[in-house]
Amino acid sequence: MEEDRAGAIGELIRRAQREFCDVRILLQDVSPVRARLKLRGRWRQYEIAISEVILPQARIYSYYALKGGKVVVGFDNTADNEVLRKVYGSDFGKHQYDLIPHKHGPEKQTCEITDEMTFDDFVNWLHNNL
């Protein structure tokens, strides 16, 4: 189990180093049941912020591209008030801790529900859209 998680985190770092420049690992931990990674990099003129947290019951991700510190695009699955209302309407209070994949647009002014993303999906999205 620990080897799987360590392997997954290690693989993600290798891919990030292949895809991005100036990759810096800010946090990296692996235990038998949990793992986490937070890294920064650069792709073309964009700052890249990647975060993966693997828990026994869930995977929480966050893949962002920023320019001058402002969000250009961001994919994550942490439900916030806007996302919960979009999905559950007025019933959102019962689903506070749900993980809901979604995409933030420039400066987080827009938000849309998406399928679950992986690091590779994010890289493909960058290549196809930015």
């Binding site: 931990d29 949990r34 975060s51 962002y64 916030d80 506070q96």
Partner: protein, 109 residues
Amino acid sequence: MTTVAVDSRCIKYLRMLGDEQEVARRAIQDYILRKAVEKIARITLEQAGLEAKYGMDLDTFRQRVTTDEDYLRQLNRKEPLWEEDLAHWIYLSEELKEWRRIEQELSGS
């Protein structure tokens, strides 16, 4: 029961301290306990950093981002990468529970 290979020199020293099985068991237990205390200190420090950054504890923060529209709007402007902080905060909270459980279990034995 799992067998662990130990250097013969260490076995010699363990025997100098008493029954090698018992001394080894206690040494491993003390080592894990010391590591648990270190982990707890490190996790608590990182959690305190997040609490200071957001001015509240994890439960309150989760409550605010999921229920308070105005707070969320301000947060998205001020800390656009707050989602990754929240994920790591949750990770720390789960790790802390586990290491505290280990610490209690070993302190009591």
